[in-house]
């Protein structure tokens, strides 16, 4: 049964990724849609961050270490443009504030 669940999920997630790449292979994209698609990456990333910090019941599951860690990540990512430095800044702040509190 577990093997069946893995295979079904595998097929489903492949179809989700491939579907529009194949379905829209000969579609000429109107400029409005192309502009809309530019917002997909930032908004999906933003939504994922918040969903990781909230419980399934909808309340915030993040304290000061998490929030300060993510603010430092954002600042480091914006100023350095380097994902490793952003990771160090974020995890460093998170661990530091967690240790102090």
């Amino acid at each position: 049964m577990i093997a069946l669940a893995i295979i079904l999920t595998g097929i489903g997630s492949y179809v989700m990724r491939a579907f529009f790449i194949f379905a829209l292979a000969r579609y000429s994209f109107p400029p409005l849609l192309l502009r809309a698609l530019e917002y997909v990456a930032p908004t999906v990333m933003a939504a994922l961050v918040v969903s990781m910090l909230t419980t399934p019941e909808g309340s915030l599951a993040a304290g000061l270490p998490e929030l300060m860690g993510l603010i430092c990540t954002a600042v480091a990512a914006k100023t350095t443009g380097n994902h490793i430095l952003a990771l160090i800044a974020g995890m460093g702040t998170f661990w530091l504030i967690g240790a102090i509190l």
């Binding site: 049964m1 577990i2 069946l4 669940a5 893995i6 079904l8 999920t9 595998g10 489903g12 997630s13 989700m16 990724r17 491939a18 579907f19 529009f20 790449i21 379905a23 829209l24 292979a25 994209f29 409005l32 192309l34 502009r35 809309a36 698609l37 530019e38 917002y39 997909v40 990456a41 930032p42 908004t43 999906v44 990333m45 933003a46 939504a47 994922l48 961050v49 918040v50 969903s51 909230t54 419980t55 399934p56 019941e57 909808g58 915030l60 860690g69 993510l70 990540t73 954002a74 990512a77 350095t80 443009g81 380097n82 994902h83 490793i84 952003a86 990771l87 974020g90 998170f94 967690g98």
Partner: protein, 247 residues
């Protein structure tokens, strides 16, 4: 090739990390090298995955087999969490797929770039279309089809290989990592970093902020469906604002 190098150079503000190899290396090498730093935050996630597999009482090899078959960290973790909680196959599979539904948006967003590509690349490229690969393809737009294909596949299969190795280590060693280290916090840190990298314009940053607020308001919807609703609504709001400003 020259034209592409010029294009990459012009996008300088978002590419400040790029050292000299970035202007000389082949697209394939750049794809692999760009993938490496983004994989580091995924490492703890491989161990979280291992803990979930152990808690669900699933044989290690069977749990690991989901890595090549599904290839999507959050989808795999959701599936095994629910199976561990005793959910039915139908319930676990549908919840896992709803968690992965954002990949449909990636599929739409990348469709224009896959148009002038051979069909084998559509089949293979779709298999490695994950969050990080999608964001890389958005922040490093490559117009030349062959260079785009090499960059995309190199980044995708670098992630793929590392994920196969690390989830194998994860199912074996994951349960030994102390929970109080909080290493899984690397996941939101990664996504904040990717959010900033893909927000190279102020309006994109505004869209991201709007999506954060909406996701928070919709956080109690089942199976995280709030993510998709928040994303689609903030994109629509941004388009309406653009139109309002133009008129």
């Amino acid at each position: 090739m020259r034209a592409m190098v010029a294009l990459t150079a012009r996008k300088a503000p978002t590419l400040r990390t790029d050292s000299s190899w970035h202007t000389v290396a082949s697209p394939a090498l750049r794809g692999s090298l760009d993938a490496l730093p983004l994989f580091i935050p995924a490492l703890p996630f491989a161990f979280v995955f291992g803990v979930v597999v152990a808690n669900a009482g699933i044989p290690q090899w069977l749990g690991w087999s989901s890595s090549p078959i599904i290839f999507g960290g959050a989808i795999q973790v959701t599936l095994f969490t629910l199976i561990g909680e005793g959910a039915s196959v139908a319930a676990a599979v549908s919840a896992a797929l709803i968690v992965g539904a954002r990949h449909m948006l990636y599929s739409v967003a990348l469709a224009p770039r896959f148009q002038n590509q051979p069909s084998w690349f559509r089949w293979v490229g779709s298999y490695v279309l994950i969050d990080q690969v999608f964001v890389l393809s958005q922040i490093k737009p490559i117009d030349e089809p062959v260079a785009f294909r090499r960059y995309f596949l190199a980044a995708g299969f670098t992630f793929w290989s590392l994920w196969m190795i690390c989830t194998a280590l994860g199912v074996v060693m994951g349960p030994a990592i102390p929970a109080e280290w909080g290493v899984e916090f690397a996941a939101p840190v990664l996504f904040v970093s990717l959010m900033m990298a893909s927000s190279d314009r102020r309006d994109k940053l505004a869209a991201a902020a709007l999506a954060m607020g909406l996701t928070y308001l919709l956080a109690s919807l089942p199976n995280r469906t709030g993510i998709l609703i928040a994303v689609i609504s903030s994109v629509v709001v941004m388009l309406l604002l653009q139109r309002h400003r133009q008129s």
